[in-house]
C-alpha cells in the first residue's frame, strides 16, 4: 500500500485535513480529495492557468504545486469567492460577457482577484500582465480585460 501523507491547510477559510500521495499535485487533491471542483484541468503542465488558485495571497498554479508543500497555508478558489452575493469581479465578468465556455473562467477570476487585492486600480497593461498566464480560447480576452477594469471601478475602455 502506497504511503500517504497527512496535510492540513485552510481551504476558503475552513480547516481541511487530507491524506495525499507522494508527488500528488494540489489540483487533484482539491478536486478529488476536498471535492472542490472549481479549479480546472487544462494542461497539467502550467501553461494554461485554468487551475489557478490563490495560496497565501498569491496566484499559483495548482497543477504544478505539490500538495504536501501547502501544509499550514491558505488556499482560495472560486468556490470561496462569492459570500452571500457575487464578488465585484464575478459581477463584472457577467456584465461584460467575459465567459463563453466557462472553462478558463475559474482561473481568470482567481488571477484577477489576486491582482485587485494587491493593486486596486491597475492600468490596462497591468491587467493584461496579470492574466497573461491564463489562456482563453473563446473570448479573445478583450471582454475579460474590460471586466477586470470595471471591477476596479475604472472605465472599461
Amino acid at each position: 500500500m502506497a504511503r500517504k501523507k497527512p496535510i492540513q491547510f485552510v481551504h476558503n477559510g475552513s480547516d481541511k485535513a487530507v491524506f495525499v500521495d507522494e508527488g500528488e499535485n494540489l489540483l487533484d487533491v482539491l478536486r478529488r480529495g476536498v471535492g472542490d471542483l472549481t479549479p480546472k484541468y487544462g494542461c497539467g503542465q502550467g501553461t494554461c492557468g485554468a487551475c489557478t488558485v490563490i495560496i497565501d495571497g498569491a496566484p499559483r498554479l495548482a497543477c504544478l504545486t505539490l500538495a504536501e508543500t501547502i501544509e499550514g497555508q491558505s488556499v482560495e478558489t472560486v468556490a470561496g469567492l462569492a459570500g452571500g452575493q457575487l464578488s465585484p469581479v464575478q459581477e463584472a465578468f457577467m456584465a461584460h460577457f467575459a465567459a463563453q465556455c466557462g472553462y478558463c473562467t475559474s482561473g481568470m477570476l482567481m488571477s484577477a482577484t489576486a491582482l485587485l487585492r494587491d493593486n486596486p486600480r491597475p492600468t490596462r497593461d497591468e491587467v493584461v500582465e496579470a492574466i497573461s498566464g491564463n489562456l482563453c480560447r473563446c473570448t479573445g480576452y478583450e471582454a475579460i480585460i474590460a471586466a477586470v477594469m470595471t471591477a476596479s471601478g475604472q472605465q472599461a475602455a
Binding site: R32, C43, Q90, F97, C101, R137
Partner: protein, 571 residues
C-alpha cells in the same frame, strides 16, 4: 461591448418589432461559469474511479507485428489491458450513422497504425499514474512502413497506401467518383475570352481547435444493465450512436449526459472517448475515465485539416470575372472522419459569393499519414474562402483594381443562379462591402456605391443555368463499389445503390419503405442561344447524378443508399 446595428439595410425585409435581437441578453449558464459550478463532464465524482491511458504508435505508418502486454498486466494497479480484440465492433467511420462511406477506423488499432499517435493498447488502472507506467511497459513490435504527409504525393503513383479501404488514398463518393465535381458553363471558353488569366496555389495548415477542456468521458455502471456516460462531446446523440455501434450494444443501454462543453469549436464530435470509457466499465465493472492530456489533445486530437488549392481565374479588363477553375485537395489525415462531408459542403459553396458564368471545380479528399482531421468552425468553407479571397486580392492587385470594388462588381445578388444550380437569395455581400469601405475610408465609385443586392440580380444570363456545360467522366472509379460498399461477395450491379436488407432486429421495428423521390430539377429552364450548343438537359452532376434504373419493387423494399450528395435528401 457596443453592437452596431445597421438597421438601414434591408429595412423593409425585416420585422423590427423584435424583442431579443439587437440587445444584450444574459447567458443562462453565466452564473454557473462565474461561480465555477457549471458541470463539465469531469466535474462528476465517482468512488473508485479508474483511469485509461493509451499506448500510441510512435510511427506515421507501421504494421503491428506483435503486441506484448505481459509485463504491463502485472504492474501495480492495472485492472485490465484492452486491445482491439476486446472491442466488439472494432471498425467504424463517423458518418456511417448516415450511411456515408466505408468503415475505416478501429477504436484500437490491431494490424496497422496509419498515423503517429494511433491508439494500440488501452490500460485501465486505479490511478492515472499507474496507467501511464503500465503503458510504458507495453512492447509493440512495429514494421515501419514508408509514409506520406503531402496530399499530392499521396495520390502520385506508387505512394504508400494510407487507408486500406481506399487503396488510391482518395475517398470515393457514391461508390464511383474519386472527387466531388462542379461543372457550370465552360471554363475553357471563359479563359479564351478573358483579358487576364491568373493562376495561383494556396496552402492552409492544419489548425488545432485547442479547447481549454481536453476531450474526455467518464463511464460508470448504472442500474438495469445500463451504463451512464458523462462526456465532453458536442454531438451527444452522435457519440451515443457511435458508441453503440463500436460496442455492439443497443443504444437503449447507454445513458449519455453532456451539455456543458469546455470549448469545442468542432473538435469534440469524434466520439473516441465515450466508447472506450464505456468498454472499460463493461470490462472492469468500475467507473472509468478516459481523458486526453494536453499533449494528446494537440497531437492526436483531430484538427481542421489542411487544404491545398489551385485557383485559376479569367477576368475582363473592366474587372468582371468570367471563369474560375478550382482544384482542391483536402488533407483528411489517416482516416475519413468528417472530411468527406466537408468537401460536399465546400463544393456547394464554390465559387464563393460571386456570380461567375463559367465555374469548374474538382475537390479531392486525400488520405495522408497525418492526424485524422475533423470538424472545426465552418470546415469545408473556411479554407477555400481563404484561398478564393486571397486570390481575388491578388487578381485585383495585378489588374490595378480596388479589392473592395472588385468584389462588389462580381458579388452575387438575389435571383442569380449559383454554380451549384440554386438561386441566390438574401444576399448581402454588396452591402457588407459598402459598409467595410465606409469603415476603411475607401471612396467607392458612385455606381458601386449605389449598387444593391436586391436589384439587378437574375437579369439575363445571371439568372440562368448555362445552355452548355462542358462535361467529362474524369475521376470515375471502376469496380470500387462492388468490392466495398456493403455488397460483399453477393454483390450485384445494383449494390452500388441499394443497401442490403438489414438483418432482423427484434428490438427495433423495421422502418416503413419509402417510395423513391424524384430527382431535383433546376429552378430555371435554360434559354436557347445561338452561340452555344444546346444540351438536352443541364448537368446536375455531382449533386444529382441519376442512378441507373433499378426494378421499382426492389427500390420500394430497400432504401436508396445515396439519394443525394450527403446521403440524405431534403424532403
Amino acid at each position: 461591448m457596443p453592437v452596431e446595428m445597421r438597421k438601414d439595410l434591408f429595412a423593409d425585409e425585416r420585422d423590427d418589432n423584435l424583442n431579443e435581437v439587437g440587445k444584450p441578453t444574459q447567458r443562462q449558464d453565466m452564473v454557473g461559469h462565474v461561480t465555477g459550478r457549471s458541470p463539465f463532464y469531469d466535474d462528476h465524482l465517482f468512488d473508485g474511479l479508474c483511469h485509461i491511458r493509451c499506448v500510441r504508435s510512435p510511427h506515421h505508418n507501421a504494421r503491428i507485428r506483435r503486441i506484448d502486454t505481459s509485463a504491463a498486466e502485472k504492474m501495480p494497479g492495472v485492472l485490465r489491458v484492452v486491445t482491439g480484440a476486446d472491442v466488439p465492433g472494432n471498425l467504424n467511420t463517423l458518418l456511417s450513422l448516415r450511411d456515408f462511406g466505408l468503415d475505416d477506423e478501429p477504436l484500437l488499432h490491431t494490424e496497422h497504425c496509419n498515423y503517429r499517435g494511433a491508439p494500440v493498447v488501452a490500460i485501465i488502472a486505479d490511478t492515472e499514474r499507474q496507467a501511464r507506467e503500465a503503458c510504458a511497459a507495453v512492447r509493440v513490435d512495429y514494421e515501419v512502413l514508408p509514409h506520406v504527409l503531402d496530399v499530392e504525393e499521396a495520390i502520385a503513383p506508387r505512394a504508400p497506401v494510407v487507408n486500406p479501404p481506399y487503396p488510391d488514398n482518395l475517398f470515393v463518393y457514391h461508390g464511383k467518383y474519386n472527387h466531388q465535381k462542379l461543372r457550370f458553363g465552360d471554363v475553357e471558353a471563359g479563359f479564351a475570352e478573358a483579358d487576364h488569366v491568373i493562376e495561383k496555389r494556396y496552402q492552409m495548415s492544419p489548425i488545432e481547435q485547442a479547447p481549454m477542456e481536453t476531450c474526455g468521458a467518464i463511464a460508470a455502471p448504472e442500474t438495469n444493465n445500463r451504463f451512464v456516460c458523462y462526456t465532453s462531446t458536442q454531438g451527444l446523440f452522435f457519440s451515443l450512436g457511435t458508441a453503440a455501434k463500436l460496442l455492439d450494444v443497443s443504444s437503449a443501454r447507454l445513458h449519455f449526459i453532456g451539455g456543458t462543453v469546455g470549448g469545442g469549436f468542432g473538435g469534440k464530435v469524434d466520439s473516441l472517448h465515450e466508447p472506450l470509457a464505456i468498454l472499460g466499465t463493461m470490462l472492469t465493472g468500475r467507473p472509468v475515465k478516459y481523458q486526453f492530456d494536453r499533449a494528446e489533445e494537440m497531437q492526436v486530437g483531430a484538427p481542421r485539416g489542411a487544404e491545398r488549392w489551385y485557383i485559376k481565374t479569367g477576368t475582363m479588363a473592366d474587372g468582371r470575372i468570367v471563369a474560375m477553375q478550382l482544384k482542391g485537395y483536402f488533407d483528411a489525415g489517416a482516416t475519413t472522419r468528417l472530411s468527406s462531408y466537408a468537401i460536399v459542403k465546400c463544393v456547394g459553396h464554390l465559387p464563393g459569393p460571386y456570380t461567375i458564368p463559367h465555374v469548374y471545380a474538382d475537390v479531392y479528399c486525400v488520405y495522408t499519414n497525418r492526424t485524422p482531421a475533423t470538424a472545426m468552425r465552418g470546415f469545408g468553407i473556411t479554407g477555400v474562402d481563404y484561398s478564393v479571397e486571397s486570390h481575388l486580392d491578388v487578381v485585383a492587385h495585378e489588374l490595378g483594381l480596388n479589392p473592395i470594388e472588385f468584389r462588389i462588381m462580381n458579388a452575387y445578388r438575389d435571383g442569380d443562379m449559383k454554380a451549384h444550380r440554386r438561386v441566390a437569395k438574401n444576399c448581402a455581400l454588396i452591402e457588407c462591402c459598402q459598409v467595410a469601405a465606409e469603415k476603411a475610408g475607401v471612396k467607392l465609385a458612385p455606381h458601386l456605391q449605389e449598387m444593391a443586392s436586391m436589384t439587378g440580380g437574375g437579369e439575363g444570363a445571371r439568372g440562368q443555368i448555362p445552355n452548355y456545360t462542358a462535361l467529362d467522366e474524369h475521376g470515375r472509379v471502376e469496380g470500387f463499389a462492388r468490392q466495398s460498399y456493403g455488397g460483399g461477395d453477393k454483390a450485384t450491379p445494383m449494390d452500388e445503390f441499394i443497401r442490403p436488407m438489414p438483418a432482423p432486429q427484434p428490438a427495433r421495428p423495421v422502418e416503413p419503405a419509402r417510395a423513391p423521390v424524384p430527382q431535383p430539377q433546376p429552378a430555371a429552364t435554360p434559354v436557347p442561344s445561338g452561340a452555344t450548343p444546346r444540351q438536352p438537359e443541364p448537368s446536375l452532376e455531382p449533386a444529382g447524378a441519376p442512378p441507373p434504373a433499378s426494378p421499382p419493387d426492389e427500390r420500394r423494399r430497400s432504401p436508396r443508399r445515396f439519394s443525394s450528395v450527403s446521403g440524405m435528401r431534403r424532403r
